[in-house]
């Protein structure tokens, strides 16, 4: 066993994150932790979430104070064998902070990855964020109703370590054109195909959430050559039920206080919804054309308060590897929709997650995506 000192640092959750706060440690100094164990609650302006340890070992020092604002990359804790003395730990911490100063200076002048846009057939603009370079088909992340490419802030960078990845904004969302066409799953899927064509992507590992999941399923079943694998996270289209309280609340609420309980329906732990997250949704809804787009999608996809496009039969036509991930506490789409799917569709249920397992159980979801996209 090598004598090593491991640093646990402030993670980077999404493009915009520059700093975060450890609001609480869930372990004490001296504890032995395992990789993947939840060790702290971290809050950024955009989101709050539990932080899973990237390493195993003995926690020798908790460096970050609860409530202290630290930049991404700053030292949170030090993990090392008992064999290493305290003096060495001190030295390590000092050296680390020196190096951090330089890294922060370099980071300040570095060009950060920015989303780009491409025009697709028909003249609409699709915004996307490309991260990472890898061999083989890229991973393409597709958000759900009312979301955007930032929804994948816990996932895209992880997959970008081994793959070329794209997170896109569907029409009506994010920085893409607000023209949603007919406004249904078919229209969204056509837009996805047009984007892949414009980007010269022949085939991709699709990761779709909610409405994006239905899009991924539709494409995987109708244009099999374009889909190398499909991960459907809480996908729409598996049954008629949909929470119209959520959909209508999302559309109608224009004050932060009223929107908060609606957004809290997305997650098992309401603390994940920060005021900045609420602000971002409000700002999105104010953009010209968004209200009309959301209503068009609602009226096309959920007429009479039920899902119009049921795609359960589509599974039979999917050739590529496929998996379904749901959260047991999902209040938007019933987790039960994923029961009794045809054939041997792999279904993973996360008990402690709601409608956003890719945020609520990020590292597990990332592992599942990495496996299927191997």
């Amino acid at each position: 066993m090598a004598s090593e000192i491991h640093s646990i640092v402030m993670p980077k959750w999404g493009l915009a994150m520059e700093e975060g706060i450890v609001t609480a440690w869930q372990i004490d100094a001296g504890a032995t932790i395992a990789k993947g164990q939840e060790i702290a609650d971290i809050e950024t302006s955009k989101i709050a979430n539990v932080f899973e340890s990237p390493v195993s070992g003995k926690v020798r020092r908790l460096v970050a104070q609860p409530g202290e604002t630290l930049p991404v990359g700053a030292l949170l804790a030090v993990v090392a064998d008992d064999a290493i003395g305290d003096a060495d730990i001190d030295a390590y911490v000092a050296k680390f902070n020196e190096a951090l100063k330089e890294m922060l200076a370099a980071r300040a002048s570095e060009k950060k990855p920015e989303p780009e846009s491409v025009e697709i057939a028909g003249g609409r603009k699709i915004r996307y964020l490309k991260l990472g370079v890898g061999e083989g088909p890229p991973v393409v992340f597709i958000h759900g109703f009312g979301g955007d490419l930032n929804n994948w802030l816990f996932n895209q960078e992880a997959l970008a370590e081994t793959h070329t990845t794209y997170a896109i904004d569907l029409p009506g969302h994010g920085g893409s054109s607000k023209d949603v066409g007919a406004g249904g799953v078919g229209a969204m899927t056509s837009a996805l195909v047009a984007w892949m064509t414009a980007m010269k992507i022949d085939s991709a590992h699709l990761v779709g959430h909610s409405m994006g999941g239905a899009v991924a399923l539709l494409l995987a079943s109708t244009q099999t050559a374009k889909v190398a694998s499909a991960t459907l996270i809480c996908p729409a289209g598996l049954g008629p039920e949909i929470s119209m309280e959520y959909i209508n609340g999302f559309i109608e609420m224009s004050r932060g206080k009223k929107l908060e309980p609606i957004l809290q329906m997305l997650v098992a732990n309401p603390a994940l919804v920060t005021r900045d997250m609420i602000e971002d949704v409000l700002k999105f809804k104010r953009i010209d054309g968004v209200d009309a787009a959301l209503k068009k999608m609602r009226d096309t996809m959920f007429p009479g308060g039920e899902q119009a496009a049921i795609l359960r039969d589509a599974f039979d036509n999917v050739k590529a590897p496929l998996q379904v991930i749901v959260g047991a506490q999902d209040r938007v789409l019933p987790a039960a929709h994923a029961k009794s799917l045809p054939g041997n569709v792999k279904v993973q249920v996360f008990d402690n997650a709601g409608h956003m397992p890719h945020m609520e159980a990020a590292s597990d979801v990332n592992r599942l995506i990495a496996e299927i996209a191997r």
Partner: protein, 336 residues
């Protein structure tokens, strides 16, 4: 999302609205500049460059420089609005309202009512307000309470670049006369501003900070000072709710009363002179509608009852500062 200045955000809102609707025109003194002169055209783009680039793009038929003739061109804006255009007139400094107030408060504001509903006057007056520039008494006033007082007008005070773009687009699309107050000290301040056009509704205050101890109600540039104070006091576990009114007319009375009742301790911060200002208006509203929820008297932080002084030493005493706001919050907490 890109970071843009208050100035850029306003310019962008004007450009996008003019692209969207051919009836939107701009008029004012030197909004382009160089008219009739041999040298550079669009020489100024407004005294602080806010409208630069618009005349070259839209031409002098839609971006109109005027002589120095407020009563004529503000009146013309009112008449043009009532007959089919959607003018955005610039009253360079709100201090100049004296030479054109009739056109605003007796003409434009009253057409709809006096003519029995048969007039529509979709006009915007953009104007600079506020102290801190050492511009002295005739170029530094706030005066938004005077306009707020007039039925038929709407009064908008954007507190940052994001707010400015959305509220200006809303002002232009609104069918009533709107006075849009730009604080002259904020033009270089930045915020994240979407490239897409968007609007922010009137009469909906924005709660920028939430806390259980004190409610700070404010508007315009002061919102940023109040946020600063709230963030500082949060570290001492004094929780402040900060309410950015966005529009003094219409006033979001619901949010004012709700947030006042929640904490029971209220500070109102208003850069304008103390007599008959927004602080007095809001305090009276809270006292008449939510008195029983108050734990003590409301504290008002305003400029003093004097013209804006020139000397930097005096002007710095004149403008409500974060320190004065903090003192007021501590005072209502009984920790002053």
């Amino acid at each position: 999302m890109a970071k843009k200045t208050y100035r850029q955000a306003i310019n962008e809102a004007l450009r996008q609205e003019m692209e969207r609707d051919h009836r939107v025109i701009i008029m004012g003194e030197d909004v382009a500049g160089g008219l009739g002169a041999p040298g550079e055209q669009d020489a100024w783009g407004g005294p602080l460059g806010v409208t630069k680039g618009l005349m070259p793009k839209f031409g002098r038929d839609r971006v109109l420089d005027t002589p120095i003739t407020e009563s004529a061109f503000i009146g013309a804006a009112a008449g043009a609005a009532a007959t089919g255009l959607r003018p955005v007139a610039e009253l360079m400094f709100v201090d100049f309202l004296g030479v054109c107030f009739d056109q605003i408060f007796n003409q434009a504001a009253k057409f709809k009512y006096m003519f029995g509903g048969k007039a529509v006057t979709p006009m915007v007056i953009r104007t600079m307000y506020g102290a801190g520039f050492r511009a002295a008494s005739q170029h530094s006033q706030c005066l938004y309470p005077l306009f707020t007082h007039i039925p038929g007008l709407k009064v908008v005070l954007p507190s940052n670049a994001y707010e400015a773009k959305g509220l200006l687009a809303q002002s232009i699309r609104d069918d009533d006369p709107v006075i849009f107050f730009e604080h002259k000290a904020m033009y270089d301040e930045t915020a994240e501003v979407p490239d897409d056009p968007y609007t922010i509704p009137f009469g909906e205050a924005n709660v920028t900070r939430e806390g259980d101890d004190v409610t700070i109600i404010t508007m315009g540039r002061m919102v940023n000072f109040c946020n600063q104070v709230a963030d500082k006091l949060a570290k001492e576990k004094i929780g402040c709710t900060v309410v950015d009114l966005r529009t003094t007319s219409p006033l979001d009375t619901e949010t004012v009363l709700e947030t006042a009742s929640e904490t029971g301790r209220v500070v109102v911060v208003d850069e304008s002179h103390p007599r008959c200002n927004m602080a007095a208006d809001i305090s009276a509203l809270i006292c008449s509608e939510a008195f029983d929820d108050l734990k003590g008297p409301i504290k008002m932080v305003t400029a003093p009852h004097c013209p804006v002084p020139f000397s930097p030493a005096l002007e710095d005493l004149y403008v409500p500062s974060p320190a004065k706001i903090e003192a007021a919050v501590r005072a209502v907490m009984g920790k002053g």
